[in-house]
């Protein structure tokens, strides 16, 4: 906890000017505002009764009071502005760093963490840190200044009663901390249930059409209501326990108030000689200050809960920031040109250590060859691509490009040699043109259109409301096939030296696919390319076919040779014509 707080403070460092100014302005603003009760008291003393009003004194005090109020107000305002700068600036830095980190962590980390959870860290966790920082810090500091200030004023009036007040303050803290621990557990249960509820809602409403297709509504409602009731129950407890803290501390303050009043009054009539005699007016002032003194303790207990929450959110954010990035490789060789000879040598790999996936995998692709990978689902075809582009690193063995181990090259230069189209399409929110030009942001409109035409996407794009300037997103109603065409257009535009097509045309209808195949032929001419596909017609013309099963290559060769062998591939090929 302490370490996390210090770490948050480190993020405030660029804004330490704001921090100092905030503290200074709060100090001045709050101190001046503490003068107000004394001045009002003095002013009242100037107006004793009929015909007995000291107008000179009254005017003087009124002027001082007005000045104190105005100056205090201005400083409070300035301190508010500075604290905004501090909190919003810190949050911006933190969020920028976190989002930048996402671009650097290994894919294994992204694949292994729930998407919604990561978004929550970027959005709501950081918001809570901001609230905790902004409100927490402002209230904490104001509270401390108020406590110190009122303490000083009380000490000037009566040291002994002040000691009584100070001795009683731990009760306030004790009660507050009891309530905090009590509500902490309910809050934890509440947030766990809320998370579960969010998951269920997202899943069920997201799959509402399936719920309806299976007439599953009643059971879905039942599941929802069970969880909903539990959540309602937990929220009630959490909210009630936490809302106890205000009345309870207020009660303790009331006790302090009563104690001060009794002791002061008894002192005044001489029953308690050690207190010393106090005038009625001074007792009234003292009571007013002791009231002000205890108030911040109320707020501080709330602030502590807020800060605790912020700290646990900060821990979640720092957890991401502490994930090792892909190591810096800027000192490595930048691949500028290569002929495209690729080799896998004795590669071993597994996603989870106990389940080996790829073992002893070796293959060689000559410059300009077209390599097809065939095999049943889950046999490791896509993993080969993960390794080739170094999204994942091999456990042992080595992959070389032009004889150079890929680990001796910068990742960026290695990846930019390849054009990749995956089965899982990726469309981001932006115009059609921006989506196509993703790999070449400075492409002209002519180039973009040419690429779209090559991918047979031009036709449907022109029918969109604003053509190439239509804003699209993954959920904006494009069919899976249309999205694939856009992803293909991306590659057509960048014209990379090597190609990877992983089920690139699986959702495109056959007539269009035929045409795209022709475009791919042209694109692949003279380039090393990898093709993963189910449609064996796509694969037949490959120079070299790898047949994979359970992470191993079980057959390899060209189509004719494999058909002659009459093995697994021949079987697979025949089955597509069977009825």
């Amino acid at each position: 906890m302490k370490k996390t707080v210090f770490r948050i403070l480190k993020y405030c460092k660029p804004y330490r000017g704001c921090l100092i100014m905030t503290m200074l302005c709060t100090l001045i603003g709050v101190s001046l505002s503490l003068l107000v009760p004394i001045l009002i008291g003095e002013a009242v003393d100037c107006a004793v009764g009929q015909g007995n009003v000291n107008f000179d004194g009254l005017a003087r005090i009124a002027l001082i009071l007005a000045a104190a109020v105005l100056v205090s107000g201005v400083f409070q305002w300035i301190s508010g502005l500075f604290i905004n700068r501090l909190a919003f600036g810190t949050v911006k830095d933190l969020r920028t760093e976190l989002t930048a980190k996402l671009e650097e962590v290994p894919l294994r980390y992204i694949d292994g963490n729930a998407r919604g959870d990561m978004i929550a860290r970027v959005i709501s966790d950081i918001e809570i840190i901001s609230d905790g920082l902004l409100q927490g810090f402002a209230q904490l500091f104001t509270g401390v200044v108020t406590i110190v200030g009122t303490l000083l004023f009380m000490l000037t009036i009566n040291v002994k009663i002040t000691a009584i007040v100070v001795l009683m303050t731990p009760i306030s803290f004790f009660v507050a901390s009891k309530i905090t621990t009590l509500s902490h557990n309910s809050f934890q249960r509440q947030s766990a249930l809320r998370g579960e509820m969010g998951g269920l809602t997202e899943e069920m409403i997201g799959g509402q059409k399936i719920v309806k297709a299976f007439a599953y509504e009643d059971r879905a409602v039942e599941r929802f209501e069970t969880l909903n009731r539990e959540l309602g129950d937990a929220s009630l407890k959490a909210t009630f326990f936490s809302s106890m803290s205000n009345p309870s501390t207020r009660f303790v303050n009331g006790l302090i108030y009563a104690a001060v009043g009794t002791v002061g009054a008894l002192g005044a009539i001489g029953v308690l000689p050690w207190v010393g005699v106090m005038s009625v007016g001074r007792l009234a002032s003292f009571l007013s200050y002791s009231n002000q003194y205890t108030k911040p303790f109320n707020e501080i207990s709330g602030v502590i809960a807020e800060l605790q929450n912020a700290v646990s959110c900060a821990q979640r954010v720092f957890e991401v920031l502490d994930t090792p990035s892909e190591p810096d490789d800027s000192h490595l060789e930048t691949l500028t040109d290569c002929n495209g000879t690729l080799e896998f040598r004795d590669v071993h790999f597994s996603y989870v250590p106990e389940k080996p996936l790829i073992h002893n995998f070796s293959m060689r692709a000559q410059d300009g060859q077209r390599i097809a990978i065939v095999g049943p689902t889950g046999c490791g075809k896509s993993t080969i691509i993960n390794l080739l582009l170094r999204f994942y690193e091999v456990d042992s063995g080595c992959i070389t490009l032009d004889g150079k181990p890929t680990t001796s090259l910068t990742r960026d230069s290695l990846r930019s040699r390849f054009g990749m189209v995956l089965q899982e399409t990726w469309i981001f929110t932006g115009t059609v043109a921006e989506n196509i030009a993703y790999g070449k942001p400075d492409a002209t409109r002519e180039e973009i259109e040419r690429a779209a035409k090559a991918a047979y996407a031009h036709g449907f794009i022109k029918r969109l409301p604003n053509g190439y300037d239509t804003v699209i997103s993954d959920t904006s109603g494009l069919s899976q096939g249309q999205k694939q065409l856009l992803c293909i257009a991306r590659i057509m535009l960048t014209d990379p030296p090597m190609l990877i097509l992983d089920e690139a045309t699986s959702s495109i209808d056959i007539r269009t696919e035929q045409r795209i195949q022709r475009a791919f032929e042209a694109l692949m001419k003279g380039k090393t390319s990898f093709i993963i596909a189910h449609r064996l017609s796509t694969i037949r013309s490959a120079d070299h076919i790898l047949v994979m099963r359970d992470g191993n290559i079980i057959e390899q060769g060209n189509h004719e040779k494999l058909m002659q062998q009459g093995g697994f591939y021949a079987n697979l090929y025949q089955s597509q014509f069977a009825q």
Binding site: L65, N84, T96, T99, H534
Partner: protein, 569 residues
Amino acid sequence: MQHLLRFLKPYRKELILGPFFKLLEAIFELIVPVVMAKIIDNGIANGDGAYIGKMCGLIVLLGVCGLGFALTCQYFAAKCAFGFGTDLRSAIYRHINTLSHTEIDRFGTSTLINRITADASGAQTAVNMFIRLAVRAPFLIIGSIVMALLIDVKLSLIFLIIAPIVGLLLYFVMNRTIPMYGANQKKLDSIARRTGENLDGMRVIRAFSRQKQEKAEFAQECEDLERSMLAVGKISAVLNPLTFMIMNLGIVAVIWFGGIQIDSGSLSQGDLTAFANYMTQILLAMVVMANLIVILTKGQASALRVHEVLNTPTSMENGQAQPDAQQEEAISFSHVDFAYAGAGDNSLDDITFTLKKGQTLGIIGGTGSGKSTLANLIPRFYDATKGEIRVFGKPVQDYDMHSLRRMIGVVPQKAVLFTGTIAENLRWADENASDAQLQRAMEIAQAADFVGKTQYGMQTHLVQGGRNLSGGQKQRLTIARALAGNPEILILDDSMSALDYATDLALRTALREKCSSMTTIMISQRATSLMGADLILVMDDGRCVGQGTHAQLLETCEEYREIYDSQMQ
């Protein structure tokens, strides 16, 4: 809020008693200074130690009562608010389940999720704060003003001037900032969207080496957000200091004019002190009121959005008829047209065909040609705009929707599974299906093999809707899920695209052999998968350009021949 009042009805008791106890607490709180004044006036003046002790006991007693009242109020507030929120969420969810696909499309999934989570809890918070604050703050404002008027009418004029000024200030600041907060929220949503898209597309981003640009765009958005947050902050930072200044300048005025009145003998010194205290109280209460208004305004907006969902009737009337699967004619379409709500053009145009029980219908055609739309009309996910669809002899509109859909097994194009075990997923269609039934369904769907190989078999837990499965495995499980309900009609909407040919063939063979009485509709891109069908529809841009068996279509339908040839070369 008035739209959701009916959800508060069961909590009428809490809704009334909560504020009542809060009021008691506030009154008790106001009595304490009076008692203290008595201590000073009577106890000290007379030197009566016993009286002082007694009165102090009274203060402690008042404190205990106040604590009790406050806790009672908080409890009632929480009980009412969370009871209300829980009922509301249930009602929304129940209502969503009555909506048809048309309304679900119109709202969109993310909107519905927001309504049931964020908006429901916004309304809930409003109720909670309403009970806790709505009585106390106005009570203090009105009470103080009345007390001030009782003491001195002329001096009270200062109140009547200052209160509207503070009111205007509050109104101005809120009026300016609330829309700005809305704009900030949009910016934050945009960052959330970008984060999601980045996580989804990380492979593409890295393949194109665009990390630097993505970082820059993120940084740009974060900076944008900071700038507009600072802009709102600038305005709202004015509120508290300015209220503080106006309030205390009011007190200065009270003191000055009060001094004149005291001099003329129409006001006492104690009255002046009281006046200053009331001034403080009023303005503090006004700030609380302002915050309450913000919460209630937000709650009101949430309530309206919730109401919009609750008030949307389903566009489909439920029928009464129960299915009779003995009819020989399983499905018939007669001159069916269909257009999506809000779309200009028909997505289906004049579709007519008849399918007998136990037959297989194949649908083939290009992307966007209307294949899935056609299949969606059979379980009545949408109603045809023109023409008639009959299932087992009766128009689909006549059926009780649940009975109709229980009879139909649907395998959607996108393989969606749900968190839970494989067995739980397979029991979606039939809650009471035996393990043997599930096993049989998995065997037909060619899923038994890989499920059997996992450590826990059917009890394997699917993480986040099956992220731990490959695409092909998910597809096979969705097929098994549909089969586990022993449907009369099976709809496979291009559900085998991720299967290799050998598995595809094994699956079709198993379906033919083990489910011969089942009527099957199979949408596919592969002509070979459909060759054995009893009837094949060739779709093109919403129209049916050819129907018949494989052999007939090869003769008569040019589009079909083209597709077939391209795959057979």
